[in-house]
């Protein structure tokens, strides 16, 4: 399934008409927010941790070149082969070549949203590699030929009936909607694939510059099987995932699980130090890491917006967002959704494709309150709106209207005359007519202009007291 952010208005309408989707999303996000709040309350110094994480990431992002070079050197010392990909196409080609060189037939994947960003699955499948997602949510979404609708809960938009149906259709099993049975079906199917797989692909949550090690945080143990069983491992990482040393990791491991899944700690923390099969007799024979730019270095150039690169993809901003809660992730039309998606879309895909994305927000700021990295998402959205306006991607009529408004706001008398007019005019109309906002009032009564306005009433009030 290919989605396009410029069709977001259309997707929003579709989502709003889909009652099952809406209730699934509303239920899931409400539970997530509640679990998150409960766990956050148990973490001492939560606010201090947020500030600390923000300043660590700022330090990293503002010196990213230094950390990336250190990481490369240290990873190579560990026997990891480091690849640099400027864009999605390069990343796909690198991974394709690794698979070819190693005579790979079957690939298992786990915990990698970044591979969605580079449309890796469809590419590998088209090139003849059997490619399978192994995390339950991702697996379901892959079976349905969709993309994840949430950063940490990819199948959040589906209910168990949807899942039972797709398992029945695609796997040929009897229909069931019993969660434990569905889980057992997925597990049996996937375990076989793990044992057969020649190559594993995972994402990276944190990369440790001074040791060349990378970490994956997970609950299902699929990432450790993905890393541990096949003879080749490829990790795909956005270049912003750096941390200076293990010393800083603790802060992030306290912030991520409560924000992402309402857990104090995740079940597994996998640390990949290198290709150790020769020393240990197990694990992959060779390990590759693909470090992806794909627009990140241009985001880095803006002192304010580079905060978007602090994101650890926890999904807390999605769960709290009153818009995401209504429409789910696919409405945003891209692999990153919710408030963080709304800020990333135009930055990654440009102001033409992304011209609506920063506007899909009431700027309520709940995301900023929730973000463990204190990314000021509402202020970013405002800045991105401004870039889209300055890039002349908004309508002529709106532009003229705003210019008119700005002009009138500087000329009190004219302003007063022209704002007096709609009040008078509205009073002549029957109450039901929606002047001056047609189409707005289907479910909402419009406010009525006052016959006199504050200024006049205030001066009358002052006069009457004299």
């Amino acid at each position: 399934m290919e989605l396009q952010p410029r069709l977001t208005k259309h997707y929003i309408k579709e989502a709003l008409d889909n009652e099952r989707l809406r209730s699934a999303v509303e239920r899931a996000t409400a539970t997530s927010v509640q679990k998150r709040d409960e766990k956050v309350a148990e973490v001492p110094y939560w606010e201090e941790l947020r500030h600390r994480a923000h300043s660590i990431k700022r330090q990293v992002i503002e010196n990213l070149d230094i950390y990336l070079e250190a990481f490369e050197t240290n990873a190579q010392k560990n026997g990891v082969q480091v690849h640099w990909a400027a864009n999605d196409e390069e990343a796909r080609r690198i991974i394709h070549d690794i698979a070819r060189e190693n005579n790979v037939e079957t690939i298992v994947k786990s915990k990698s949203l970044t591979t969605e960003e580079i449309h890796l699955n469809s590419f590998l499948i088209e090139n003849g590699f059997e490619t399978l997602e192994t995390d339950l949510g991702e697996y379901i979404v892959q079976l349905m030929d969709q993309i994840p609708s949430h950063l940490t809960a990819p199948a959040l938009h589906l209910d168990r009936k949807d899942i039972g149906k797709i398992f029945h259709e695609k796997l040929g099993v009897d229909y069931t909607e019993e969660p434990s049975e569905l889980l057992a079906i997925a597990r049996t199917t996937l375990r076989e694939k793990f044992l057969k797989a020649d190559m594993g692909i995972s994402g990276v949550n944190f990369a440790i510059a001074d040791s060349g090690c990378f970490c994956v945080v997970e609950n299902e143990a699929n990432a450790r099987l993905t890393v541990g069983l096949p003879k080749v491992h490829v990790a795909v990482m956005g270049m912003e995932k750096m941390l200076p040393s293990f010393k800083e990791l603790g802060t992030f491991l306290k912030l991520l699980p409560p924000s992402a899944t309402g857990q104090k700690q995740s079940v597994y923390l996998d640390m990949v130090g290198g290709a150790l099969r020769q020393q240990l007799g197990e694990g992959p024979e060779n390990v590759h890491i693909v470090i992806l730019d794909n627009g990140r270095s241009s985001i880095l150039a803006d002192p304010q917006l580079r905060e978007s690169l602090f994101c650890i993809r926890c999904g807390a901003c999605l769960n709290i967002c009153p818009i995401y809660q209504q429409v789910g992730g696919h409405a945003y039309g891209w692999v990153y959704m919710g408030p963080i998606g709304a800020t990333l879309i135009s930055q990654y895909l440009g102001n033409s494709e992304g011209r609506y994305s920063p506007f899909v927000s009431s700027l309520c700021g709940a995301c900023y309150q929730q973000c463990p990295l204190r990314i000021n998402l509402p202020h970013h959205l405002l800045k991105l709106r401004n870039q889209i306006v300055d890039d002349r991607k908004t309508g002529q009529l709106e532009r003229m209207g705003i210019k008119m408004h700005a002009f009138l706001s500087r000329h009190t008398k004219l302003y007063r005359f022209l704002t007096w007019f709609p009040g008078k005019f509205q009073q002549l109309l029957p109450k039901k007519m929606a002047f001056p906002a047609p189409g707005y009032t289907k479910h909402r009564q419009l406010g009525r202009f006052d016959s006199k306005g504050f200024r006049k009433r205030f001066s009358e009030m002052q006069d009457s007291k004299k």
Binding site: K9, I12, K13, L16, P322, I323, Q326, V327, F359, V360, S361, S362, L363, C364, G365, A366, Y368, H379, L382, R385, N386, Q387, V389, D390, T394, E398, R399, I402, K403, H405, A406, L408, S409, R410, T412, Y415, T419, P422, G423, A437, G439, Y440, T441, K442, H443, R444, Q445, L446, G447, R448, F449, D450, K452, G453, F454, R455, R457, F458, S459, M461
Partner: protein, 245 residues
């Protein structure tokens, strides 16, 4: 005896044209707590609708005019959190002329939203008064999150002797207005206000109190169209009524 505070009113567009009564009630309450009132006659709009829509350079002259008009006042008070946030916080995102920057900083330090002004500046503790009704309170986003004003309106409501205050669930969830958002994404905005109104109804309150006329207009629009029971009321009106001003 402390000299009375001289308050310059900033009356945002919605208060000027649609809801002058609550702004007048604000004036009454301010006078009641001993403030002297001044109205700057040339005032128009702070530029927020344009700013939120992404138009920055277009409204720099509007902001500069606003700064010039208000920066030398002793203090400025507005019956709106979002318009106050515009001046106090978002004027910093505009390319204001260098020579006006000190004035902008000065103004940012002395423009206040009404409830914040009463509690933090006038040190009002309890206004007393009587309003024997069940009410709930909606946190407007800019007031709560940009200005950090959460406790102040609640303190004022609790100060009314016989009021029955009940928090609604998710009082701080957006009502779905968001300025031009409510027009650009009408259907989405409707679903958001629908949810807000459900919370209000579940609280059993007769009145939903708020400190921003924009949210109240949106909420009231939905309540009336769907013949729901609760009424919206600006906090200035609540205080004025309870004090019989």
């Amino acid at each position: 005896m402390v000299m009375p505070m001289k308050v310059a009113l900033f009356i945002p567009c919605l208060s000027e044209h649609l809801y002058p009564q609550s702004a007048l009630n604000m004036v009454k309450v301010l006078k009641h707590v001993g403030a002297e009132i001044e109205y700057v006659d040339e005032q128009t709009c702070c530029g927020q609708p344009a700013f939120n829509s992404g138009y920055r350079k277009e409204i720099v002259p509007v902001a500069e005019r606003f700064i010039n008009m208000f920066h030398s006042k002793e203090c400025v008070v507005a019956p709106s959190g979002s318009c106050t946030a515009m001046v106090r916080k978002f004027y910093y995102d505009l390319d204001i002329r260098d020579e006006l920057k000190p004035a902008r900083d000065e103004l940012a330090g002395k423009i206040f939203e009404f409830t914040e002004f009463l509690i933090d500046i006038m040190n009002v503790d309890k206004l007393g008064g009587s309003f024997p009704h069940k009410v709930t309170y909606h946190d407007s986003c800019h007031l709560n999150r940009e200005l950090g004003v959460f406790e102040q309106p609640r303190k004022l409501i609790h100060g009314i002797t016989d009021i029955d205050f009940k928090e609604m669930s998710h009082s701080d969830t957006c009502c779905g207005f968001g300025g031009t958002f409510s027009y650009k994404f009408k259907e989405l905005s409707i679903k958001m206000v629908e949810r807000k109104c459900r919370y209000i109804e579940e609280s059993g309150a007769e009145f939903c109190i708020g400190a921003d006329e924009s949210c109240l207009m949106n909420i009231n629009g939905y309540l009336r169209k769907h013949n729901m029971n609760a009424q919206t009321m600006h906090i200035a009106t609540l205080l004025a009524k309870s004090l019989n001003l």
